[in-house]
Subunit: 126 residues, 2 copies
DNA sequence: ATTATAACTTGCCAGTTGTCAGATGTCAAG
DNA sequence: CTTGACATCTGACAACTGGCAAGTTATAAT
């Protein structure tokens, strides 16, 4: 039901600006024929296409993604602060040291946790 | 260059949790074979798929979208926590996992870092 | 009316995605 | 060594996306 709307909203917005399909095509780099099909619901725009047409139509990227059902209505960012609220405390010193590493490295380090726990389990089970 | 990373990050995260392809498949509703191909870079995940696997992997939705290049970098503001750690970001998932451990355990985990680096150095000095 | 031109539509096809079913690899138990 | 059970990979296929080129339908101007 949101999806039917998407095509209408895109068309409405284009007409209102106003732009022709060719003009929108020129600004977005998406072929006019494809844009036309999207507007009349014959094709569903991929994320790639949505990203291209968002700005020329005056949308924020997120808005179109939500309308398309690619993102849920609330971004619901889990920030570090939120994480702390939902669980225990994150030691500031620990946070500082870790934040100086790449995210990849951070994950590797944290990945050691389940390993340690698994070892602990097998030791106590004996 | 971000795109090569995506497959690696997804695999890393799955292994780290840890989950098998089948388990992730069960939680996300994406076929195991497809997940496997995504992880080894043979297929590129659509937005539809990213949305499905984000939560089971502990990612916020837009995080994966950004990594996939479907969204440009955060339009939203920088968190105060990030500002404090002048320099790097602390991955939210990492923060969440760590904050559920005791501070003592957090410090132990971070303490492993210099050890690993020392080992890595001696390996590259070959 | 008749061209001319701009706007949109349709036919077709190459390239991808995601699924199912079956093959392959792996490892512990008998 | 063989069996059974997992986990992962491969082959084949239907469905879909998006572009190009040719077709149709307005809209204007003479």
């Amino acid at each position: 039901m949101e999806i039917r709307n998407l095509s209408k909203i895109i068309k409405q917005q284009r007409i209102m600006i106003p732009l022709t399909l060719q003009e929108l095509s020129a600004k977005s780099g998406v072929s006019p024929s494809h844009l036309g099909r999207i507007e009349r619901g014959e094709r569903f725009p991929s994320a790639y296409i949505l990203r291209k047409i968002a700005s020329p139509l005056g949308f924020k990227e997120n808005e179109l993604f939500i309308l398309a059902g690619y993102l849920s209505t609330q971004p619901s960012d889990i920030t570090e602060a939120d994480a702390v609220h939902s669980g225990g405390i994150l030691d500031p010193y620990v946070a500082k040291v870790l934040s100086q590493e790449t995210v990849e490295m951070q994950r590797i380090i944290v990945g050691i946790l389940p390993i340690l726990k698994s070892i602990a389990r097998s030791m106590s089970n004996k």
